[in-house]
């Protein structure tokens, strides 16, 4: 308080100029009775008033280049508040949802134990099927004579490149079509058609054997891939297997079609034999009738 009064007294004294000599002790002392006055005092007074006015009523300070730091800070504070209210809270909700989803996927949708169990099952199935595929590759030949052994080796070869050699082997076993003049044209046509169908069926059998081997090899390959696949890639392998099944169905249908043709030729042959018999009977009857008429 005393200090405050001291400052007030100093300012009042300075304003009235009563002890100006103390402020400038080195200046030359004026003559007695002459009133001392500083010519710059009005300027100092004006400057002091101006300073006070600026301090009391001056505008807020501006930073360098005219940027209002105060406004920026206020805006930043406001933005921080907005972010906390409208962004941070929803983000927390999203994060919680994501954690819930991840937990659901790990525990319900894609539990690692269940996936591993399925993979182990696939591995076990594959092992059994590989053993079974070997059974289909067992040697089942049983011919004892050279001609039939050669023919059988082609039939069971599972190799389509042997198709060309089948005709010779076939004729070694079943004989060729009768020579011209040795039988009626009808009979020769029938036997040729029948031989052709028999050979076609055998050739188709070789092709089907080769195709089924390819399918089994592909099944082995896909089975191995499934046993190490990810849950996302297993459906792709399933789609691939679907495509192969569709293809296999077509091959099965081709084999069935060949089988139907073979049986159709068989029944047509029986009918043809009756027709030929009837025709030959007519010829024979004519000959007998003619000879009896002589």
């Amino acid at each position: 308080m005393q200090q405050h009064r001291g400052w007030t007294q100093t300012i009042r004294t300075w304003w009235s100029g009563e002890r100006a000599e103390e402020a400038a002790p080195l200046e030359e002392a004026p003559a007695a009775g002459e009133k001392r006055s500083n010519p710059r005092r009005p300027f100092y007074k004006g400057a002091a008033v101006l300073t006070i006015v600026i301090l009391l009523y001056g505008r807020e300070a501006h930073g360098q280049f005219g940027i209002d730091v105060g406004l920026i800070i206020a805006a930043l504070h406001q933005m921080q508040g907005l972010m906390q209210n409208y962004i941070s809270a929803p983000l927390k909700t999203i994060n919680q949802s994501q954690q819930n989803i991840a937990s659901y996927e790990q525990q319900v949708m894609y539990p690692l134990q269940s996936i591993q169990q399925a993979r182990n099952s696939v591995t076990q199935f594959e092992s059994q099927f590989r053993q079974l595929s070997r059974s289909f590759n067992l040697n089942i030949s049983s011919a004892t004579l050279p001609q039939s052994q050669g023919f059988e080796s082609v039939l069971l070869s599972r190799n389509p490149s042997n198709l060309a050699s089948l005709t010779n082997q076939f004729q070694n076993v079943y004989g060729p079509v009768m020579a011209q003049g040795a039988a009626s044209p009808d009979m020769r046509n029938m036997t040729d058609t029948t031989d052709a169908q028999a050979q076609d069926a055998m050739k188709r059998a070789i092709q089907i054997d080769a195709l089924s081997d390819t399918e089994l090899a592909e099944a082995d390959k896909m089975g191995q891939q499934i046993s190490v696949a990810a849950p996302g890639s297993a459906p792709i392998l399933e789609a691939e297997a679907d495509v192969w099944v569709v293809r296999a169905n077509a091959y099965t249908q081709a084999a069935l079609a060949e089988l139907m043709r073979t049986r159709a030729i068989d029944i047509a042959n029986q009918s043809k034999v009756k027709k030929i018999g009837t025709s030959q009977n007519s010829v024979t009857n004519g000959l007998i009738t003619t000879s009896l008429g002589h």
Partner: protein, 163 residues
């Protein structure tokens, strides 16, 4: 279904056919070797040389061969059926405890098993094709022979009648 499918049935009454039937119904590929002897026990062997026409011997041999091939294929296929049925049962058990994440493995495996099943069926069809083709080829050979014989007899008949 399993009980119905695996209910055994036998029809042979004599010892040799019973033995063959047992082998045929064995569903066991290790029995393939005994099938040949059992087959010969029931259907005989190819006649020795000079006891039948060469063509007949060859045809008897190839007919026996095709017959045995088909019978052996059925035994292998029976075993394949058992494996496929066992796989179906195992897959069904797995499906019962599967999760959405593990079921794609099982469906993919089922499709691969389906593909294998198709391949086995094709092998059976190939054997059936060989057998049917052999059957019509055999009949056709007999037809050729009869035609040849008929031609010969006809010529002799004509010659006799036109004298």
């Amino acid at each position: 279904m399993t009980n119905v499918f695996f209910t055994p049935f036998n029809s042979a009454t004599l010892s040799s056919p019973q033995q063959l039937e047992t082998v045929l119904h064995s569903r066991d590929v290790s029995q393939l070797g005994s099938l040949t002897s059992s087959f010969h026990g029931n259907f005989g062997t190819v006649p020795v040389a000079n006891s039948a026409a060469p063509q007949d011997r060859i045809m008897m041999d190839i007919d026996d061969t095709l017959g045995q091939e088909s019978l052996k294929t059925t035994i292998i296929s029976d075993q394949a059926q058992d494996s496929i049925l066992a796989t179906a049962d195992a897959l069904e058990n797995q499906v019962a405890v599967s999760t959405p994440g593990s079921s794609p493995f099982l469906t993919a495996q089922a499709q691969v098993a389906n593909l294998r099943s198709q391949a086995y069926m094709q092998k059976m069809l190939a054997a059936e094709l060989r057998q049917e083709a052999g059957m019509i080829a055999h009949e056709n050979t007999l037809m050729k022979r009869r035609a040849q014989d008929a031609g010969d007899i006809g010529n002799q008949f004509k010659t006799a009648l036109t004298r």
